[in-house]
Amino acid sequence: MPEDVGESAAGRWRRKLLDLLSRNLSVVVLALLCLISSVATWREQNPITSRSGAAVARQVLEACPAPCSVLVVARDTEADRVFARAIEEGLDDSGVRIAGRVFGQPRDVRLELERLAGLDGSLDAIATHRIASDWGPVRSAGARVFSPRSYYWPTFLTPRNLLNVVNQNADIAIIALGMTLVILTAGIDLSVGSLLALAGVIAAVAAQEWFGGAAASPAGLLAAMLLGVAAAALGGLLSGTMVTAFRVPPFVATLGLMMLARGLALILAVGHQRRLVGGGAEGTPEAVRVDATAFAWLGNGAVLGVPNPIVLMLVLFIAAHVLMTRTMFGRYVYAVGGNVEAARLSGVPVTAVLLAVYCLCGAFTGLAGIVDASRFEGGRPNAGELYELQVIAAVVVGGASLAGGRGRIAGTLIGAMIIAVIQNGLNIAGVASYEQKVVFGALILGAVLLDRLQPKIASRRARMTRGSTPTPVQ
């Protein structure tokens, strides 16, 4: 059956383009947001990195060939030291003499200059960065000052910022993966914020009290973390049981669990504090600190320069994507969400699918919880407050329908990134947090409105399509 009877080629392309755009609307929105953020953060850039250090070294070599003595000035920070090391490496073996190094304040520069003057050596150049080049002692030293040339570039688009944006929202994105499954079955899980806190606190308490505290072995820490994840998964299973066996609406079941889990997290944290202080001391719901330094690796370490939370997020994303698009389970989830009765009559084990979905959502939340705990080197009983709303927003913005059956894992990842980018863009642009709330509210309303309008758009499109094709003769 020819599909394109009575339609011009241009019309067909236009329809295809519109189709593609409307189907990948969230990608378009994300790209637009990145563009806006880039334009809004177009600033003079003075990066203090090893690259800019090497650039300064090249400047010195060009303008002041050997023999030449150079003072390297930087502040006493990690980035400055990397920067200074890069300058020195750039000047190695060139015959340029490093007269001295300063890591500190303008005062330290003055002292170093005085020391050098006492040594009777001439100083030809000072190599430093943009900030220190404005210091009084540097300017009045009588030597040529070299600093990296500044350039214009969107602050938003610097690798550091981008990694930061994703890293800070990795936990939201991880939970959103689980939430997508729940929402696909036309359910909702309000307990994720509390389960995140509970998982973190349980992992921290276990690490401190059962697996040896400061002396905990990596295996012990891993066990503690797994315990946290298992607790959250168990919480999800409880919601799932309420929803399937007792037909409690998901909203209510998970609302109950939300309060229950938060309470448990607080009780555990306070109990730990009491045991720490001893006796009948008043416990406070403070974070449960983990002394073993390895505990912080998951949240703060990096693999090949990519922060661990991002690595974990990507791995989980791929796993969830494969699960939902390639496996029987994924098909079952979509079927249950699309039409539960048709799914049941087709032999789909509806109860088991729903249980697994809530349990998985809990497990994802638990993973996010230990990432959070690791990042703060301890379990915070107040962590994750209002996360459920951010997570639901991410899923909805990512194109999933709250009515179930429609939504994609990739969409959710993009939804989470959209929210992260807006937050970051507003922060860099200096928008206050109150105004940010307004923007977020409007965003969520817009996404839901789009979700409501989509069937209408789709039906109009279908009508267009049907109008252009002859009714199939049967």
Partner: protein, 512 residues
Amino acid sequence: MLELHRISKSYPGVDALRGVSLVVGAGEVLGLVGENGAGKSTLIRIVSGAERPDGGRIEFGGETAAFASPAEARERGIAVIHQELSLVPQLSVRENLFLGAGWSRRGIVRRRWEEREARRLLGLLELDIDPDARCSELSLGARQAVEIAKALALEPRLLILDEPTAALSPREARALLRQVRGVARRGAAAIYISHRLEEIEAVADRVAVLRDGELVRSIDRHEPAGGGDRRLPLDRDALIEAMVGRSLSMEFPPRLPQAIGEPRLEVLGLSAGSRVRDVSFDIRRGEVLGLAGLVGAGRTEVARMISGAMASDGGEVRLDGRRLDLRSPRQAIRSGICLLPEDRRGQGLVLSRSARDNFALPNLDRFRRWRGLVDRRREGRAFSRWREQLDIRLSSPGQRAATLSGGNQQKVVIARWLERGARVVLCDEPTRGIDVGARYEIYEWIRRIASEGKSVLLISSELEEVLGLSDRVLVMHEGRIRGEIADPASADPAGVLRIAAGIDRSEGPSVA
């Protein structure tokens, strides 16, 4: 009161109404009967303003009427009571009675007036119902009566009742019929639609029979002398003749020469409350067993219980002599019992997913690679094989099921069970909402499935279809099997309908 002149209406491929002319007078009840698809619902939709006729003229209360919407028809005094109730269960009777607009004074409820008026309306119908009772606490019959009271509150000039007794017990149904007569006595006109001829006999002053969109018979029961509520007895046989007609317009594929084998599926004493009572039968290998009966006779429930979709109160099902434990559709499917549900869109397909996904849904274990991964190549190959065999017309395998025509949707469901290797296929209204061309193809497939040695249970409200396609037909009436027809090809449709309507108990020499 209402006069219809040569009303016609056609939908793509179907002439739903062909020049129907009808008159309903004030104080008169018109009984409207006809088989499924005869055009009754279309007629009601046109009279109540939900649809506009393609041709013809409607006069209502002496003037020409062209209602733009149901709301306008309601304003003009036409009230429709549907089979499904429209009451809010959480509200009281009184609140439901005056739920619509226009009863309050500037948005403030006139409670005293409502209480008085509610009592008056309920009194009119001689109902002993507390106006402050919550509707959810009332029996179905009482709720149906409240529905009528609600319609009466509008003081309609024409009351239309569409299968109002489907969910009622016989006693409740009798009370309802009295109420309809009462409405007529007070000068309103009424149109009463029902499959149940005894109800028509009890309530109607005149009976109109629709068949294939035409008014084929009109029976006037008024006593010539004008004897009030006394009416001439109704000739039910004549009515049934008129409904069935003589035209076997449909063509059926020939029964292939085949050996009908051993009993495959045995059903013993299956029951479900008052809807299915002690139903026993068997289906043999290679046999198409038809299940005829009126809507609500319990046929769908029988199929749903066998397929594990609905729990039974008692009885057992045996497959090849082995007793089955049918607690879920999943188990039934594993044993090879597959259901083509009557509500294809609501129960058969996940409309938001593709045709291929819907085909694969119960068959995913056959396309499994390892750890639940779906082998999409094998899945695609299987689907394209059946797509070709069944001639399923798609733009691509990924086309969403919602956008398929009814025939193609049904073929997707059939393909799904053929791939599954079903041993027993339960077809519940397999051609409902499917046009004539695709119908024939589905008939062919039903015959073909049987000729491969499988067993088919065929439920259809279209008598011609059951008789034309089945090797043997059982007739159900009010939850029981009331007759068996061993040779459906030469059976008299009117006789079958008489059994289904509860008039006769069995048919011909082949009494079960």
